[in-house]
């Protein structure tokens, strides 16, 4: 038997093995399903969910369908991940810079934070923080530390801005403004690269049009918007925006954990830009700010972006840990749906598909960013 034949034989054997395992699994699964009288299908998604969610960013009630419950779970997962990614990036960057500071006190503060964060299981951080909150929050009553702000076992209630259903148009308006500013800035930048000219009025024009936009939005909304104050109703709080202890715990805990890793990434990135780069930029007459912006940060980002991508994906994965404190994320909701309807196979497919979709789009997005950074554009 020659080499090619042997290679073919190996691959055929591997395929046979996998197919055999899959066939065995499928046979057992269909026998088991038949035994328990479960039929594969997606109808269960349309059925009434019938369970409550501890919290939901989408409007949800037990009367809604299983599909809507799962969607609410996905939105919860995404919201947690966004918050954690935002805070962890900022705090982690700060810590990473502090770790290289000359100041012994600041350095050891950052060092202890990073070591504790990186060497503790995140689920324990959540449990610890949650039981800590359970002990410090006022038990049977509502406290009002500042006028209009309430604190109770249910969380922190602050006045909410009630936009009378205009929330979506505001979000849309702000997004449009940002996109507009972005495209003008991009056009100007590419014009500057081609012609070497940057009309000084462009910055002002962008700022003025953005302000104008915001003014229009505010003027449109002002008549209908109102502030909704929370009110204490016995041991309960009615109205306002309530920050629950669960949400606070999971944002704080996961941010603390992730910031330790971000700090190390930022520190490595900073150290990767050698002193000679700074000196060369100064020798060219660049100011400290421009040196940072034009020389140091672009080189640093090259080192930072790939590991940051895996940190962002880790945040999405770690958001599943909120199960420990009973927050309804995507995993919890889907698990409940599976337990209620016993559609384990379909549920598993949904779990795999959703995490794959989130993580693949996240890495596609970050790869896009990475490509720009590696080319030195931007």
């Amino acid at each position: 038997m020659n080499r090619t034949q042997r290679n073919l034989a190996y691959q055929a054997a591997a395929l046979l093995l996998v197919f055999g395992a899959v066939a065995l699994v499928v046979a057992t699964a269909s026998a088991n399903l038949a035994d328990r009288g479960i039929e594969l299908g997606t109808e269960f998604l349309g059925d009434r969910a019938g369970f409550t969610l501890s919290e939901s960013w989408l409007p949800y009630s037990p009367e809604d369908s299983n599909l809507w419950a799962i969607a609410a779970g996905i939105v919860n997962t995404l919201v947690i991940s966004l918050f954690v990614a935002f805070f962890a990036t900022f705090i982690g960057t700060g810590l990473g810079i502090l770790r290289l500071s000359e100041n012994a006190l600041a350095k050891s503060f950052a060092r202890s934070w990073v070591e504790i964060a990186r060497n503790s299981p995140p689920i324990l951080l959540l449990l610890f923080l949650y039981s800590f909150l359970g002990q410090v929050l006022p038990v049977a009553d509502v406290v009002e530390p500042i006028q209009g702000v309430y604190l109770s076992l249910r969380g922190l209630a602050i006045p909410a801005l009630d936009l009378q259903g205009m929330g979506w148009s505001v979000t849309g308006g702000v997004l449009l403004t940002l996109i507009g500013i972005g495209s003008v800035a991009k056009a100007t930048a590419s014009r500057q690269r081609e012609t070497g000219l940057c009309p000084p009025w462009v910055k002002w024009a962008i700022a003025a049009s953005a302000l104008l936009w915001l003014l229009i939005i505010v003027l449109l909304l002002a008549p209908s918007a109102s502030v909704e104050l929370p009110k204490a109703n016995g041991p309960d709080i009615v109205g306002g925006f309530i920050l629950s202890p669960e949400f606070f715990t999971l944002i704080t805990g996961l941010t603390f954990y992730t910031s330790g890793f971000v700090a190390e990434i930022v520190r490595t990135g900073l150290q990767s830009v050698t002193r000679g780069q700074w000196e060369a930029a100064y020798a060219l007459g660049l100011s400290r700010g421009r040196t940072l912006r034009l020389v140091v940060i672009p080189q640093m980002l090259r080192v930072i972006i790939p590991p940051m991508t895996s940190q962002y994906i880790n945040i999405v994965k770690n958001s599943t840990l909120v199960i420990a404190i009973g927050y309804a994320d995507f995993m919890v909701v889907t698990g409940t749906v599976i337990n209620k309807t016993s559609h384990a196979i379909e549920g598993t497919v949904i779990i795999i598909a959703v995490y794959l979709a989130i993580n693949l789009s996240l890495s596609a997005l970050m790869n896009q960013v990475n490509r720009r950074v590696q080319q030195g554009v931007g």
């Binding site: 290679n7 591997a14 057992t28 100041n103 012994a104 600041a106 324990l124 994965k317 420990a324 384990a344």
Partner: protein
């Protein structure tokens, strides 16, 4: 930036704190943070804390931390519901596993006999925990708990996951398209899913997918899920090492007439693994932390045994203290392990860096 350092170490410390206006501001900020955070914490954890005698009454009168609970219940938290008189056995197992783990990260220990040590240690651990011979009382896996479960899960998952990971890494770089595809599919799928969902899927899907006679118990299900997870991550670490090697190494080995496996085992892998030791220790630390998640599928690890201890109605349920205690155990394991690995790495590099 370029100040010449004077020789007095005390002077350096002073200058690092107030050497420039910016540093002085930083010092003030962090001094304020310390001043606000440290005294209340110390009051709670030390001055007002209840320690001895370790009975519920001590905690009722104290305003601070209830360490008496930890003192009274430490053996239940560490060893779960393992029979009280037999607890020297899990203690011995923990000592054995931690000792061997520390011994194994030294590259000088990497001989063929290390694998033998591990197999003997694991069999010994299993035998000691399970009992039922030589006069040892038999203890079923349902009664195992706490730290030995955490350590056994970590060690078994890495022990099986590492060789599997090496095979997966080689398969992913193989010339055979089918093998490469299968391995890539497995690695990417496993890495895209949170460990918790893998544990969850393993616990709900296995009873459906596997014939009843072959169905593993809860402990083995956790081991399977953790091993899958570990092997996918270790495979990527090893692949990093394989990619770092110049192509000439494989070509030279081939030119010498070595077969594929001889080439991998004698030339490529020893060098590739040496390159990725730091990444390997990181993955091992991640795995130690990850075992804490088996709590979710109802396995009796450290957190679950801590929760079980908290359920005692005699005590005022000092959960903060218990979670702090368990976090401290994990921290000691992970931090100690990473420090030790760092030191080895520094020594391997030689003293001249930085």
């Amino acid at each position: 930036m370029q100040k010449l350092s004077s020789d007095a170490p005390g002077w350096n410390a002073v200058r690092s704190l107030v050497g420039s206006p910016f540093n002085a501001v930083l010092t003030v900020i962090f001094a304020v943070i310390l001043f606000l955070a440290l005294p209340p914490f110390l009051t709670w954890a030390v001055f007002d804390a209840a320690v001895f005698p370790a009975v519920p009454e001590t905690c009722r009168t104290a305003a601070g931390a209830c360490w008496s609970f930890i003192v009274a219940k430490h053996s239940q938290i560490l060893f779960g519901i393992y029979p009280f008189d037999e607890r020297w056995r899990p203690l011995l197992v923990c000592t054995l596993l931690i000792g061997l783990l520390v011994y194994s990260i030294r590259p000088s220990a990497w001989r063929a006999r290390l694998a033998g040590f591990w197999i003997v240690a694991l069999m010994l651990s299993w035998g000691l925990m399970r009992g039922g011979f030589a006069g040892l009382a038999s203890v079923s896996t349902d009664n195992w708990g706490g730290l030995p479960v955490t350590l056994l899960l970590t060690v078994v998952a890495i022990g099986i996951g590492f060789p599997t990971g090496i095979l997966l890494a080689l398969a992913r770089r193989s010339d055979l398209p089918v093998i490469r595809l299968l391995s890539t599919l497995f690695i990417e799928l496993t890495r895209a899913l949170p460990l918790l969902s893998i544990l969850f899927i393993a616990s709900i899907m296995l009873p459906l997918l596997v014939p009843e006679d072959l169905l593993p118990d809860k402990f083995s299900r956790a081991v399977i899920a953790l091993t899958m997870f570990a092997s996918a991550y270790l495979a990527e670490v090893v692949r990093g090492g394989l990619q770092a090697l110049p192509k000439g190494q494989a070509e030279a080995a081939q030119a010498l007439g070595l077969s594929y496996w001889q080439c991998q085992l004698k030339v490529i892998l020893p060098q590739a693994i040496a390159v990725v030791i730091p990444a390997l220790t990181n993955t091992i630390i991640v795995m130690i932390k990850n075992t804490s998640l088996v709590l979710v599928i109802g396995l009796f690890d450290l957190i679950s045994s801590g929760k079980a201890a908290l359920a005692d109605p005699e005590w005022s349920s000092p959960s903060v203290e218990v979670y702090l205690f368990i976090t401290a155990i994990y921290f000691t394991l992970c931090f100690g392990f990473s420090r030790f690995a760092d030191r080895l790495e520094q020594r391997a590099k030689g003293p001249s860096h930085e």
